[in-house]
């Protein structure tokens, strides 16, 4: 349905002239993009206040479709670049859009330390469970034993849980949902945008072209239903054993903590240093 018009409509953030987008039929990234635009509208932000940093990968193409400030960078490095932008210009709302490869595999170290640092950046991780852009190779979030173009006989490596990792590392807002649970994407992104400190929303997304096709789910509706079946809310998951949770996608808000963000802490450091200089 057409949305109630806020100060700035979600369409003001969209480069409509760049559509149709380059993502495959049934790719969930268009849904995540639209949900993010809805969240921008609700947040009351204007395009000039927003900086979207994208890395490399299918989700890294998102900046092509945005009317915000955009910074398209090298593979895996969106977070430290977003960190620099935010620290240099704290009035901006800085987002880092990364896929599973970008954020957690090649960029895993930055993900851990951005969480720990609690830097005031919002990470939106679109996790399609494989490297789509390069032809469907396995990533660090590919489920164990899945077939991909580089794990034809099954992926020998267990998958990384991005939300558990970042929550443990100190990220103060962490949430996960799937493209099937579409309404929650906008809700979680909106929560993340208003959060002080490092906020992260992971959205598990269908890749029918590669991950789906290699794993007997060649169409988007099949993949969405698979996500629906795999998803278990974090509340329900609390009462389940590790065995019962094997292969499940736990969804919900993993962390929502108030507390010192990097910038608020550094402001205190600056105050101390200035005092020290004056005392010299």
């Amino acid at each position: 349905m057409s949305r109630r018009s806020k100060e700035v409509s979600w369409k003001a953030f969209l480069r409509e002239e760049s559509l149709p987008h380059q993502w495959c039929a049934g790719c969930g990234y268009g849904v995540i993009l639209k949900s993010m635009l809805y969240a921008f509208e609700k947040s009351g932000l204007a395009p000039k206040d927003v900086v979207v940093v994208t890395g490399i990968g299918c989700w890294g193409k998102a900046d092509d479709y945005l009317y915000t400030n955009t910074v398209h960078v090298t593979h895996g490095r969106a977070l430290p670049i977003a960190t620099g932008i935010k620290v240099a210009n704290p009035s901006l709302k800085v987002l880092a859009l990364m896929g599973d490869g970008d954020s957690a595999t090649i960029g895993g170290n930055h993900l851990i330390h951005s969480s720990r640092r609690n830097i005031d950046v919002t990470a939106i991780i679109a996790n399609n469970l494989n490297y789509g852009m390069t032809g469907g190779q396995y990533s660090c979030t590919t489920p164990l034993d899945s077939r991909t173009s580089t794990s034809w006989y099954g992926d020998p490596e267990p998958a990384l849980d991005i939300c558990r990792l970042t929550e443990t590392a100190g990220a103060s807002f962490v949430a996960r949902t799937t493209v099937y649970h579409v309404g929650t994407i906008e809700r979680y992104i909106l929560m993340a945008l208003s959060h002080e400190g490092f906020s992260l929303v992971e959205v598990i997304s269908p890749c029918p072209t590669y991950f789906g096709r290699y794993n007997k789910m060649p169409k988007a509706p099949i993949m969405l239903n698979w996500l629906k079946d795999k998803a278990i809310s974090i509340e329900r998951a609390k009462n389940l054993s590790e065995e019962e949770l094997s292969g499940a996608i736990v969804t919900g808000v993993f962390a929502d903590k108030k507390g010192h963000s990097f910038l608020s802490r550094y402001n205190e450091i600056q105050a101390r240093a200035k005092k020290d200089l004056e005392g010299e």
């Binding site: 349905m1 409509e16 559509l19 149709p20 790719c27 849904v31 988007a220 509706p221």
Partner: protein, 79 residues
């Protein structure tokens, strides 16, 4: 139903109007599958045709779930 390529296809129902950007649609069939009233049927390219548009209840699921920015559902009388 004839499908004009590269144009906006507007189909009027009793209560709602469905506007479809055929030039953006990639035929993923998500709207066909997840419409609670089964308003759509896929054409030979997988692109949806709102054959039962009168059944539309205006829930907006198709618009929300469409990855291609290709569907808008509007109340009649709202431009």
């Amino acid at each position: 139903m004839a499908i004009p390529e590269g144009e906006i296809m507007v189909v009027e129902g009793k209560k709602f109007r469905i506007e479809m950007r055929r030039d953006r649609c990639k035929g993923c069939e998500i709207c066909v599958e997840f419409c609670p009233k089964k308003v759509f049927e896929a054409d030979e390219l997988g692109r949806p045709v709102p054959v039962r548009v009168d059944d539309c209840i205006g829930c907006g699921a198709c618009e929300l779930r469409c990855p291609d920015f290709a569907i808008e559902v509007k109340s009649k009388g709202v431009s």
